[in-house]
């Protein structure tokens, strides 16, 4: 189980973000911040991923896409809302095609506000999401052993 503790694989989806947060997510992976050295890899396939990073707010068009990605991820999984748009809609909150934060569609474990967020904040959020993953895993294990005992 210890393998989960350090090297989660992440998947990134751009809701309706302006790119500011997206390029900071990518910046986390590249040489200056380089979280890949801890084995944290950005995956294209939801079934390989432990943590979903969503940037940007929810709109009608992407509601189902976000839901699909989330549903395809294996348990335990964690979701981080990157940037104020993903948290609440942010500066675009009043736009006609913005419904608000992604917590309207899927459960969010870590909120990382900022416009745009800094890579340090994203890394901190991913580390917090690791804690969430551990908790969920412990709960799953307790659940399955209780079942086996019963």
């Amino acid at each position: 189980m210890a393998y989960m503790k350090r090297s989660p694989w992440i998947i990134h989806y751009d809701g309706s973000s302006c790119n500011g947060c997206d390029i900071e997510v990518l910046a986390c992976l590249t040489p200056l911040y380089d979280i890949e050295r801890f084995g944290i890899i950005n995956m294209g396939n939801p079934k390989h991923a432990d943590i979903l990073l969503v940037t940007g707010a929810v709109n009608e068009q992407n509601r189902q896409v976000i839901r699909n990605i989330y549903d395809q991820m294996p348990e335990p999984k964690a979701v981080a809302a990157i940037g104020i748009c993903a948290c609440s809609g942010g500066i675009f909150r009043e736009c006609y095609n913005v419904d608000g934060g992604i917590d309207q569609v899927i459960p969010v474990d870590v909120y990382i506000p900022g416009c745009p967020v800094r890579p340090e904040q994203i890394i901190d959020g991913v580390v917090q999401a690791l804690g969430v993953l551990e908790e969920k895993r412990a709960r799953m294990k307790a659940g399955s052993s209780a079942e086996a005992g019963a």
């Binding site: 990134h12 989806y13 751009d14 809701g15 309706s16 973000s17 302006c18 790119n19 500011g20 947060c21 997206d22 390029i23 900071e24 990518l26 910046a27 590249t30 040489p31 200056l32 995956m43 294209g44 396939n45 940007g56 707010a57 709109n59 068009q61 992407n62 896409v65 990605i69 500066i91 675009f92 009043e94 736009c95 006609y96 095609n97 913005v98 416009c115 745009p116 800094r118």
Partner: protein
């Protein structure tokens, strides 16, 4: 006769940082046609002008896109200043030019990295992004933020850069230029890169012009069109030539952007030499009334901001024509006859910025 099939590409795809969806009509490995559907990132921010003060709207204009954000903010300011007939202090115009060119460098480096990633050249991707951090450090040192600066405002700019700091930035670019030459050498001369990019997704200059391509896509097809030559901000006092290539394929688009990095370095150096002393902003009173088209050259091509105002603090209409939107028809043309494995490379070659295109 092989069967026709439709392969969906996107919206969530490993090579795309942003969601766009293409239906690829395929026959065997060849693309016959690509049908785009967009709208995943549409926010409807143009309509927000009715709710926000025109001065505050600069912040929203900057957030049309996080990559070319400074230039969006600046173009919006140009449009409103055009209506109000403001004489922006020359120092502010020079500072805008410096930040525009820094934005262009960070955007091109970002794109060169993504392009390398799309052809599986991971180490080159990392090198491009490593060098990009140098530009972002300059951004952060002068504006306090890495990607969305918030340093432009109607009537001038919010922060000054001291002459000494400008000198430091210009000197710092000497080392960056050496590093860039080393990296660009790989993009231009490496056999692997040439093999993946040459002759792929070709657009003739007639096709590019007829389909309304903008920016590097147009210049890579041999048409020297660069809106900076119209001389907005301080460009009329600086000396530069648009970078033009003639082969019109993905390789040419890569070379144009790679060479433009050095144009930007040169422009920043010139600006640091010529920048006049004086005020960086002016007092803006009253509300705009009238309409204006402002055009500028973004990293991805020409952007047009149209602003219409009726003398109240809210604008009546704000409309943006972004370069990515202009480049989608040429992209669809360039994709015909491609092999499936080349699709990601060609899609990236127009430097798609969906955040801009859909707003």
């Amino acid at each position: 006769m092989s069967r026709r099939i439709v392969i969906p590409f996107g919206p969530q795809h490993p090579v795309l940082p942003e969601p766009i969806h293409l239906d690829l009509v395929m026959e065997d490995e060849r693309v016959l046609e690509a049908l785009p559907s967009i709208g995943y990132v549409h926010r409807g921010l143009e309509k927000l002008v009715e709710k926000r003060d025109y001065r505050d709207f600069v912040f929203i204009a900057e957030r049309i896109c996080g990559i070319c954000s400074f230039i969006h903010g600046m173009t919006y300011c140009h449009a409103v200043e055009g209506i109000m007939d403001l004489d922006v202090p020359p120092r502010a115009l020079y500072l805008r030019t410096v930040w525009s060119e820094l934005s262009r460098m960070h955007s091109h480096l970002l794109w060169l990295g993504l392009m390398a990633d799309s052809m599986g050249f991971e180490s080159l991707f990392m090198q491009a992004w490593r060098l990009r951090e140098h530009v972002l450090d300059d951004m952060e040192a002068t504006t306090g933020n890495r990607v969305i600066q918030g340093s432009c405002k109607i009537g001038g700019v919010r922060q000054d850069i001291s002459n000494q700091k400008l000198r430091e930035i210009a000197n710092g670019l000497d080392q960056l230029e050496l590093d860039l030459r080393e990296m660009v050498n790989v993009f231009i001369n490496d056999e692997t890169v040439k093999h993946r990019l040459s002759g792929v997704g070709t657009l003739s200059s007639k096709q590019a012009w007829d389909l309304g391509a903008a920016g590097p896509v147009l210049r890579a097809s041999g048409i020297a069109n660069d809106i900076r030559q119209t001389g907005y901000a301080a460009y009329d006092e600086l000396d530069f030539k648009p970078v033009v290539e003639t082969s019109g394929d993905c390789y040419a688009r890569t070379v144009v952007r790679a060479k433009e990095l050095f144009t930007s370095i040169d422009l920043i150096r010139q600006a640091a030499d010529k920048i006049p002393d004086g005020a960086i902003d002016m007092k803006v009173t009253g509300n705009p009334k009238g309409e204006f088209f402002a055009r500028s050259e973004q990293p991805r091509g020409e952007v047009v901001h149209y602003v219409k105002a009726n003398g109240t603090k809210n604008l009546v209409r704000f409309r943006v024509r972004t370069p990515t939107f202009a480049n989608i028809p040429p992209l669809l043309e360039a994709m015909k006859g491609l092999e499936l494995a080349d699709v990601p490379v060609v899609v990236l070659s127009i430097d798609p910025c969906i955040g801009c295109a859909e707003r």
